[in-house]
Subunit: 133 residues, 2 copies
């Protein structure tokens, strides 16, 4: 059971969600940002496998359940205001549904957007008909 | 002027905001998460000094304008869905209004919350009457 102090330190928004940043624990690479509800936080702390809340599917989203690209939780941190979480994880494979290691592959270069990373895996290899996982 | 393609790649939410993660460009330390509106993105790209939008003050928040703890923009990245920004910055001093280097100083240890970093600066040294800056 999750310590009630942990949950009460988190300020969930009006929709009951809190943003969670996933960072690769050893390299420091910021992998992705997604959302968690109370239940997702509890499950993640209980299982040490990261579980988000999918706003598009309106359901718990056990990262990697479709794609196999699981995130193992190494550490969970809460910010000063309690309205953002930082998850230190060990990412198995790739974090992004496009097949890239992380989701932040578009950067501003000379005033324009440029892709700075190519997919490591074809999205079709990761998914059947599911857009995320 | 900001390339219109950059702004159109960002999916601002119903309130006109997008979450922005600030990461120290050379060490990989995740410093904080805050929000930007369209104007904040434009100003940040134009000046290379990070400007957020303060939801509590409902105004542009030029990071460091009160405290002196400025963030210099090194790179701006947009995620796959366009709904989160990653700012690679050079943080002058401390990012957190508590005087800590970063905002994520509370971690789950043995099932309970523990502070894992102490303030480097007294908040009173950073601010007059302003809670953030």
């Amino acid at each position: 059971m999750t310590d009630p102090d942990i949950l009460s330190a988190i300020r969930f928004d009006a929709a009951g969600l809190v943003p969670a940043i996933a960072q690769q624990h050893d390299t420091g690479e910021v992998l992705m940002m997604a959302w968690m509800n109370r239940e997702a936080v509890q499950e993640t702390l209980a299982t040490h496998r990261v579980c988000y809340f999918s706003r598009s599917r309106n359901a718990l989203w056990r990262k990697g359940e479709t794609s196999g690209q699981v995130q193992h939780l190494k550490d969970l941190r809460i910010d000063c205001d309690g309205d953002t979480l930082l998850l230190l994880v060990d990412q198995q494979g790739v974090a992004c549904h496009t097949g890239r290691r992380n989701c932040f592959f578009r950067a501003v270069r000379d005033g324009a957007l440029e892709e700075i990373a190519a997919p490591l895996v074809a999205p079709e290899t990761l998914y059947g008909s599911h857009p995320h996982g």
